[in-house]
Assembly symmetry: C2
Homo-oligomer: 409 residues x 2
């Protein structure tokens, strides 16, 4: 369709990608396909009844406020609740450190908006969360990937990269998306030490921290940074911390938050005013009503139990069905694991074959900021039920075996 808009797109639209993976995800939602492709929570355990009661209550008691414009700063009781929750995990902040956002994706966007000038270098894990790359491409970021192993970002490779002049470091320390890997305690300390040495601040993205299925909780990078600076562990402000209700309550309400120094919160508020004015008042009040009074903690226990079983079924099925020469991570929490094939295999080559057999995955290459990773894939274990997981891994293994045979013949 020829219109007066033709040839008027901004230069930044050339960097707006994501359609390849979006199309793959769309395919994977076809009926009867067992999908390990998305990152969706298990809908069977959404607290639907609790939401129904909460909506009923807040609309009866507080309907006019729920449906009216709200302030960009967010709903104060929700911010206070999030601050109390953070304090329980050693992040010593108050409501003035909290900004509710329209999902974590918006938090990433607003951070890009207030910090990234065209050409700025951002240090990222390799692979890293695709949504961060998408958000920051808009602002012209350059990504400097740091190699990664089973203990997370390789901090021994960090220093040479920090010398290059880095705007900030982006890290997902717990059960990282896409790999499921956790940054070890020692590396958290090394990361803080090097960041301090080169004066580079950190964005800590922690959507899955509550979803640990084995081992001990590790202190947040933010907590360790604050501890190294003061005996009272006052919030140091060098680490901006992100988390969300998407994995613990429900992603459909689009509600997440940023923890940052008050000065940065004020800048984020100005940016948010231009971006979407404010996050839905109704959703903030309802989420507060659902989460408050201990429900969130109880509900997270159910999620952990359900996802631990699914993870175990996926690990067992991989061990049982997968041909030799293929490796995968053993996540201690979260929603994903990561499969690595021999170097000469490109997982995209059998994506369609897998779909023909009604099973879907996500090829790993898009998660690498600067290319590579063609021999990897991400598998989600939170969405499908256990019997579907073992059936799906069975099908996928058959596809892979056939692919390997065809290639070798």
């Amino acid at each position: 369709m020829q219109t007066l808009w033709d040839y008027r797109y901004a230069h930044r639209t050339q960097k707006m990608k994501g359609s390849a993976i979006r199309e793959m995800l769309a395919f994977s939602e076809i009926k009867d396909v067992i999908s390990f492709a998305g990152g969706m929570p298990a809908p069977e355990i959404f607290p639907i009844e609790k939401f129904r009661e909460a909506c009923d209550k807040v609309l009866r008691e507080n309907g006019a406020e729920c449906l009216q414009y709200g302030s960009t700063d967010g709903y104060l009781p929700l911010r206070e609740m999030i601050a109390r929750h953070a304090c329980r995990y050693g992040i010593n902040v108050t409501a003035e450190n909290i900004l509710p956002t329209s999902g974590s994706q918006q938090a990433l966007d607003l951070i890009g908006r207030i910090f990234i000038n065209r050409g700025d270098s951002i240090l990222v894990e390799s692979p890293t969360y695709l949504g961060a790359l998408q958000a920051w491409n808009t602002y012209g970021a350059e990504f400097i990937p740091v190699p990664f192993d089973q203990d997370g970002m390789r901090t021994d490779k960090l220093e040479e990269r920090l010398r290059a002049g880095i705007k900030f470091i982006y890290v997902l320390p717990n059960f990282q998306n896409p790999t499921g890997v956790t940054l070890s305690y020692e590396r958290r300390l090394q990361l803080i030490e090097l960041a301090e040495k080169y004066g580079v601040p950190i964005i800590e993205d922690d959507p899955y921290g509550q979803l640990r299925y084995e081992g001990e909780h590790l202190p947040a990078v933010e907590v360790l940074d604050s501890q190294t600076r003061s005996q009272e562990s006052c919030y140091s402000g060098n680490v901006i911390y992100l988390s969300t209700f998407s994995k613990t309550l429900a992603p459909g309400i689009r509600l997440a938050w940023v923890i940052a120094p008050p000065e940065i919160i004020q800048k984020l508020i100005l940016a948010k005013q231009g971006a979407d004015l404010h996050t839905s008042t109704f959703n903030q009040i309802t989420a507060f009503e659902v989460a408050n009074g201990g429900f969130l903690n109880e509900h997270v226990k159910i999620i952990r139990k359900v996802y631990r079983e699914r993870r175990d079924v996926m690990l067992d099925s991989l061990a049982e069905y997968m041909p030799e020469g293929i490796e995968w991570t053993h996540p201690k929490g979260g929603l994903f694991l990561w499969v690595t094939f021999p170097k000469n295999i490109n997982t995209k080559d059998f994506f369609n074959k897998a779909l023909d057999k009604q099973v879907a995955f996500v090829p790993g290459a898009p998660f690498f900021a600067e290319g590579g990773g063609e021999n990897t894939m991400r598998l989600n274990f939170s969405n499908a039920k256990p019997e579907m997981i073992s059936a799906g891994i069975g099908r996928l293994s058959e596809v892979i075996k056939n692919h390997l045979l065809t290639r070798n013949s």
Copy 2:
């Protein structure tokens, strides 16, 4: 608080303003202040009970979908409903022309993201909607103001400005924010003709079009543009049209939409993916449930009746109480009217005095992209009840009379 983030802000944060007016709005929400400052709908007529029933129904019948991630494209039945609604007003589009957004503010942001390069010139009414200026400042827009009178943008002043090389024209044709003025039929035609002559496309922002209290509905700029091009009035695609549920259902659910050619919708979807992944599934499904089946049209009749009375009370009170030499617009719809003082009066000078007398307004200057307008103010008539409006205008008139006396003595 000294942190590693200091001196790391992006250049664009220098253009992020809005705190002055935000602080004024915050003041005006103090208890017992009669506020004409904000742009809030009347909470007494929010369809709270209808929302309560809708939430109950959609969570019972469709809870898992409501709370799950959704596609960036938006909820298809909602898009289809919006398309049908647009067709009734002569905008002949289908669901593929519709993108639901997290409020109209997000629509403005996404449009800036895909079209505005640093330094691009955008033609705006003078004064214009502050939110558009905020959204597009982020992307480095330069604003070219077009003078304005009681018939809207002065199209006789348009041509000289169009010669300058303009990215697009931004217009609010119906009951404009902040002035309440409507672009006349003749000027709509002139606008289209000149836009076509210079090959410049148009953004038509129409949040209040449904809220007309007198006179005949005027066809949208989009409709007139399409009619001049084809006998069947196929959607021409030269006008991107924005509207919202904020003024007809409730602003607290943050739900608006863009109407554009499918190619542009696809670009907006990619931009939205990076901005907030998708608009709340729950809010989209609930709003569909509330609005569908004729409720929206019936509810808008109630809003019109209530706001028409409030507008009339405000106009009558202004006529009764205001000293001579002061003029105001007579809006045929919408939420606002606009007051103009003699050139030597600065309305900011008596903002605090008004607040002392427990009445609030918004000074007009921030609505001018390139300065001026110190002698103007915006008054909102939708939020306060009729008896409060007449009391508030009485108080405000006293403040103004005293201010004029003090100045002259």
